[in-house]
């Protein structure tokens, strides 16, 4: 029972920490689109997330694993 309490407390603290971090780094609300043309441009942009979101494949060492 004591172990369960410790584990429950640890997981709760971790969950709160993750929630705080996520709230802190939440992206700002997007500006309302001026018109449909703007919206198409935004959707069509390559954000580069696929490439930069991968730990391996960085141009500088280490691979960050």
């Amino acid at each position: 029972m004591k172990s369960k309490l410790i584990m429950g407390s640890a997981l709760s603290i971790a969950a709160i920490a993750v929630a705080i971090d996520h709230t802190k780094h939440q992206a700002p609300e997007p500006q309302p689109a001026q018109n449909q043309q703007d919206l198409i441009i935004i959707e069509g942009e390559d954000t580069g997330m696929q490439e930069s979101g991968v730990p391996c494949g960085l141009s500088v060492p280490p691979c960050s694993l």
């Binding site: 172990s3 971090d21 802190k24 780094h25 930069s52 391996c56 280490p62 960050s64 694993l65």
Partner: protein, 399 residues
């Protein structure tokens, strides 16, 4: 394994864990993308596999060093061989539709020192990268200490890493680029087969019989699949399957310890610490990860998944959070072991998963260097535990 008696599943813990897994999956899909939710679920699959199969590198190496029992090491060799067969063609771009990055790391002083320290830490801390996560999820409270200091060690390692990687090295060596994926794969499989034959022969020589990788239990397949325990062979299959899914969804093989350095640096920042001089976090993916939500980092969400998956598996098996009394010596080894694990993993470009398994199975020479140094460190760690009186001498009855 056949002596294990089945306990009753912990329904309350199972319900809470399933709700948590569902809620986090929906949150990840809502806040980010479906791929983040899928990666989290892959992590839970890995956690379930690790607990049900009791698949660990630390225990396998310890069993072989102390008792010449090769069952754990044979399972690891099969995992390395199977994963290599899957990953070499992908990394070698022989399948145009599939793209996957190799887990490359430079071969030099940094990886040898780092893996050696990690090997010592594995035995003192009581777990490797994957082992620490799944035993935490299982509810072993001493492993919370190991994990906390793993995070601290990893953060310290990331601060010192620029100096370590400036030490002599021959750079990154990809066996796939050097020899082509098929010749490299054949060569690697030959080396793994030789290793398998050697460890098998050593066990046979000592015990005149082999411990089975697939022991039979008098239970229904479905019962065993859900409630465990799994034979090690199922564990190998499960880890290969979820590692392949990780490669297909994330674009890189399964990794663990990057997240620990990230968590530590985020905590240090939140406490008001100055990280402006920490070169590692000032560019590339590390900087991007630091300036984003922790839920945006694929390694972090997979680690969360592993912990919750392990928790679920332990509750299904009725063995979540076993009560144990923490002794002073165990606390000390958990602290020192955790620090060595974290610091070593950062220097060695990953742990037993991110460098050893991912490195070798994607054709990086640093994975082999890691294996050599890590296993040497593990032998030293085992002897340190004997010297501290925490383990009986080799040759005596195992503690």
């Amino acid at each position: 394994m056949s002596a294990i008696t089945q306990k009753r599943p912990d329904i309350n813990v199972i319900t809470l864990t399933l709700l948590a897994i569902l809620a986090i999956s929906l949150l990840l899909q809502h806040e980010f993308a479906l791929t983040q939710a899928v990666l989290f679920l892959i992590g839970t699959g890995l956690g379930i596999t690790l607990v049900h199969a009791l698949f660990g590198f630390t225990g396998g190496w310890r069993q072989f060093t102390r008792e010449r029992n090769s069952v754990g090491i044979r399972a690891q060799i099969l995992l390395l061989a199977g994963t290599s067969i899957i990953f070499f063609p992908i990394v070698g771009q022989s399948v145009p539709e599939l793209n996957g990055f190799a887990a490359l790391g430079q071969v030099g002083v940094s990886v040898f020192v780092g893996a050696f320290l990690f090997g010592i830490g594995m035995q003192l801390g009581g777990g490797c990268g994957s082992g620490t996560l799944y035993t935490v999820g299982w509810g072993h409270t001493d492993m919370l200490i190991t994990l906390a200091f793993f995070i601290i060690g990893s953060t310290l390692g990331s601060v010192h890493l620029p100096w370590w990687i400036s030490l002599p090295n021959i750079g990154e060596v990809s066996l796939i680029k050097s020899f082509g994926w098929l010749p490299a794969l054949i060569g690697q499989l030959v080396v793994l087969a030789i290793l398998y034959i050697i460890v098998r022969a050593i066990e046979l020589h000592r015990h005149q019989q082999l411990t089975s990788l697939n022991p039979q239990l008098n239970r229904a397949f479905s019962d065993r699949l859900i409630f465990g325990p799994w034979p090690l062979l199922w564990g190998v299959a499960g880890l290969m399957f979820f590692n392949l899914l990780t490669m297909l969804v994330a674009g890189h093989p399964w990794s663990i310890t990057f997240a620990f350095g990230l968590w530590g640096t985020k905590i240090w920042q939140a406490l008001g610490g100055d990280i402006s001089s920490w070169q590692y976090w000032s560019g590339g993916y590390p900087q991007q990860a630091l300036n984003s939500s922790v839920l945006a980092d694929t390694t972090s969400i997979m680690n969360f998944g592993i912990i919750l998956g392990a928790l679920l598996a332990a509750a299904l098996a009725g063995k979540f959070a076993p009560d144990s009394k923490l002794k002073f010596k165990r606390i000390i080894t958990a602290i020192i072991g955790g620090l060595l694990l974290g610091y070593g993993a950062r220097l060695a470009f990953g742990c037993n998963i991110g460098a050893l398994l991912a490195g070798i199975s994607t054709g990086s020479l640093h994975g082999w260097a890691w294996l050599l140094a890590g296993f040497s460190g593990s032998i030293l760690g085992i002897h340190i535990k004997i010297w501290m009186g925490m383990d009986k001498p080799i040759g005596g009855k195992a503690a």
